[in-house]
Amino acid sequence: MPVSVKFFAGLRESLSLSDLSLPADELHTVADVWHKATDGREPPENLLCAVNHQHSALDSTVSDGDEVGFFPPVTGG
């Protein structure tokens, strides 16, 4: 099962990336997913990440079939 990757808000716009599907091989952490999806870009300082809809960190583990989200600080409410 591939890893599904989603970008939101300003990050989606600045990277021109929205939805990706990446082969799970060699993707062990959220950081691996970020680097693969962005061709090795430096992650922004205020980057937020989620794995399967739960807030996560760059060193969180990723498994086959996971959904990984990347987004800037949230501003709802």
């Binding site: 939101f8 808000a9 989620a50 959904e67 987004f71 600080p73 949230v74 501003t75 709802g76 409410g77």
Partner: protein, 145 residues
């Protein structure tokens, strides 16, 4: 406990009235604290013409439900309601409504405040403002609670 995303304008007080009539039993609760967040027509010194609220479908509902569950675990609540707009919003429209019902006032006040602070820091919503000259900008950070 109810969490819902709204894609069209809603009247917060009508929603509260209907929810209370349908879901609460009159005489059982003694306190309700409700909060509404409304779109202003100015922000950071600029006039704002419109707003678009992006969110992370799936994660949004999951986070809002977790926040409501956490409130119920921390305070003796009889019920909790969270409504949040997504999509295009006009100034004056309600963005968010949170409400907590309890026997006594302390729980409803504290839990309602908690819902808003947790929502503002954890729920994946992002505001994009359209200014008078039709330029757009992402809101970078929330007002501290």
């Amino acid at each position: 406990m109810t969490v819902a995303l709204k894609t069209a304008p809603y009247d917060a007080w009508d929603e509260l009235k209907a929810y209370e009539q349908q879901r609460l039993t009159a005489g059982r609760y003694g306190a309700c604290c409700a909060f509404t967040g409304t779109m202003r027509d100015f922000n950071e010194g600029d006039e704002v013409k419109a707003m678009s609220l992006e969110h992370y479908p799936g994660m949004t509902e999951c986070q809002l439900e977790a926040i409501a569950d956490e409130a119920s675990a921390r305070w003796p609540l009889l019920d909790t309601l969270i409504l949040h707009r997504v999509g295009d919003i006009q100034p004056g429209e309600t963005i968010v409504l949170t409400a907590c019902w309890s026997a006594h006032r302390a729980a409803s006040f504290e839990a309602c405040r908690f819902l808003m602070e947790a929502l503002k820091s954890r729920a994946p919503f992002w505001k994009k403002e359209t200014l008078q000259d039709d330029s757009t900008r992402w809101v970078e950070s929330n007002t501290p609670g």
